[in-house]
Assembly symmetry: C2
Homo-oligomer: 418 residues x 2
């Protein structure tokens, strides 16, 4: 066992955040993806869970043996400890981990309710300079999840085909994912402040605030207040410039966009439509060098581009678009993405084929942040639940084998469950 | 003018990142939102633009006077300098800003092509420990934007009503926004590494890698590889548990979700359907304590909840849901959000009413990260383009009034354009 510890710890000691340790008590997407972001930059992220797994341990999609592909995807590169969270001694172990000494430790990330032993005030008794980031639903502490925040912030009303007025939720849990990156920002910012001032900090981060800050950033709040108008539902069209999806002869679809003038010229060149576009602009009294005028005439512009795409297969469209520098993308299902796109393969240094326990050999992404000199931290699989319980209690808290054995016997802790 | 400088600099000297300085050369969403995230935590973020504005300066939506609400939303709390980027002397000024001394300076964020004077190697001649983060489209340096990445990564094929098979793009530029937060993570991680090792770093961050890392994290890549199945399109239903949108008697819609067992019990209690659900599960041979079984029986479950919602107005649904602790959200357009939701008002400490030049008095969000002891950095409006040109050249580079005047005369730099 001693050798295992040494190997794990040396594997962690690389990357921009090497040495940093974060204790994570979490479930679902936001907090776990924040912790994973830090782990994939080299931090030692120790996630604790109830013995048997937390609320997200069986979340779909599942591998044939029942292993959650979702849990495996969101916890790559962390260490896992399994503890009975209802047991006082289990709580004491976790509080000791959160409060462990060292300038790079003393950081606690959680989306659990910060009550009882998990409250900032109680944990701060362990170390005065504790950094704690608590992800909330709403700023007042009430519950909200991605699926309930999204309907409230306006986007489903303008998402979906223009000929269907029913709201459309995006399937991507975008608010959770933005929140997850904000989690990592908050922890690093608080760590920087602590390194300079010696002061810890309690940071709260409400999921609905993350969404509202985006609605403000994208101009929707000002649009509502200043213009008093609803944004129109424009289907797959790009708002405020030109972009739309087109069908190809072989039943595929493509999305070319022309936000800048250069992109517009490229699209006209590729589709051999410069002269038609010139006549169209003249006829409509518009100037297609203006992105707003391209948006106003989007239906007429699309009517010129659609037959060009419909007369060609995807390969031919790709060739003409690429040769002319058009900004575009093909539509791909998840299966097509994995089968056809070299960006989603080991030809892209983002990806490594790993052996994920319970799942098998799969492509897994590391950090999208690529440090040129230091290189990326190698992609590590998600742990088995409780895989590192003994190692962490020995290595971080200095517990003896006898003490760890007694905790197992009393079912306060557990080792790997699979 | 001297007093203005002092005021501006003192306003910046607070927050977790006070003292940190970032030079930003950017356009659109990803890089600017990353810079704004750091600015709203107290960093001094100096954005440079071509005199007259860059590619995103006129991006829709627009205020009546033509001011971009989008630009104003994405650049809050930054300082702005306007420089002729094609002029050698202008380039020299910017390189000097990027390479300015100090442990908290020497950080450059850009989504421009890192060529010529803007290349890492050239800028690194100014200071060996430069931190530079370059946002790319694809990892190989080729072009991609949110609107062309999104179709490629699978989500539009599973977004939208189940009775319509056409792909649906989400309107939210989610990849840009996730990338923007990753930008801030990368800069803070590199800054931490530099503070410990003395080493700078070039970080690249490709927008499509950000999306692919999410597709991997959410289990879609593994699902494609291990199960070889396409995720079904399930409309607004929550995948793998229960959640769906329902119409109310007064023409509104609500989205209740039941991922956890507790949420499921609350939904049954609120809709007085526990007995019906028990019988339904029995009849189908399913166990609704299992989230997967709730997903399998989603149509039958929805058939019980739909008439309950349809018989009640939004207010009545709200009362019953809240009283029973249901996890739910109302659908709101952007106008309804601003008019009806107290979370989108100054009742939420996230928001402040500010005077935005060219726009007027609008609600604006600060950082969603709320530091309990330190407090949030007050929300500051976006600058006018070139508002801080003179102040930055004097304060950071130490240029004299005469030198700054000569640069104006030669049109190398410009002051506020509106």
């Amino acid at each position: 066992m001693r050798r295992d510890i040494a190997m794990t710890e040396s594997a962690v000691m690389q990357g921009l955040l090497s040495g940093m340790r974060i204790i994570e008590g979490s479930a679902f997407v936001a907090a776990p993806s924040g912790g994973m972001t830090l782990a994939q930059l080299g931090a030692d992220v120790i996630r604790f869970d109830q013995i048997g797994g937390g609320l997200d341990y069986g979340r779909w999609p599942l591998a044939p043996d029942g292993t959650s592909l979702y849990w495996a995807g969101l916890n790559k590169g962390k260490r896992s400890i399994a503890v009975d969270l209802r047991n006082k001694d289990g709580q004491e172990l976790l509080a000791a981990l959160v409060g462990a000494p060292g300038p790079d430790a003393g950081i606690f990330l959680t989306n659990f309710p910060a009550r009882g032993w998990m409250s900032y005030d109680r944990l701060r008794e362990r170390r005065a300079d504790l950094i704690m980031l608590n992800v909330l639903g709403n700023h007042d502490g009430s519950t909200a999840v991605d699926y309930t925040v999204n309907p409230a912030v306006g986007y489903p009303m303008v998402t979906g085909r223009a000929d269907d007025t029913r709201p459309v939720n995006h399937v991507l849990p975008a608010w959770d994912l933005i929140c997850g990156q904000s989690v990592a920002v908050g922890i690093l910012a608080a760590d920087r402040h602590r390194a300079r001032s010696g002061e810890g900090q309690l940071l709260t981060l409400a999921l609905s605030d993350v969404a509202l800050a985006v609605v403000s950033a994208m101009g929707h709040v000002a649009e509502a207040q200043v213009l008093g108008e609803e944004r129109p539902r424009v289907g797959n069209d790009l708002y405020g410039a030109f972009g739309r999806d087109f069908a190809t002869r072989d039943g595929r679809r493509v999305m070319p966009v022309a936000i800048s003038d250069k992109q517009w010229q490229a699209l006209c060149d590729a589709t051999e439509s410069s002269e038609q576009m010139r006549l169209l602009a003249q006829q409509l009294g518009l100037d297609f060098a203006d992105e707003g005028d391209r948006f106003r005439a989007r239906d007429e512009i699309a009517a010129i581009i659609a037959p060009w795409c419909a007369a060609r297969g995807l390969a031919e469209v790709r060739e003409a678009f690429d040769a002319n520098g058009v900004c575009w993308g093909p539509y791909q299902s998840f299966l097509q993405l994995v089968a056809e796109d070299p960006r989603c393969s080991t030809a892209n240094p983002l990806f490594t084929a790993i052996d994920q326990p319970g799942v098998g050999r799969v492509l897994a992404a590391g950090s999208p942040l690529a440090p040129a000199d230091l290189g990326r931290v190698p992609v590590r699989p998600a742990p088995r639940l409780g895989e590192h319980t003994d190692e962490v209690l020995a290595g971080v808290l200095g517990l003896s084998s006898a003490e760890i054995g007694a905790l197992h016997d009393r079912k306060v802790i557990a080792g790997p469950s699979r």
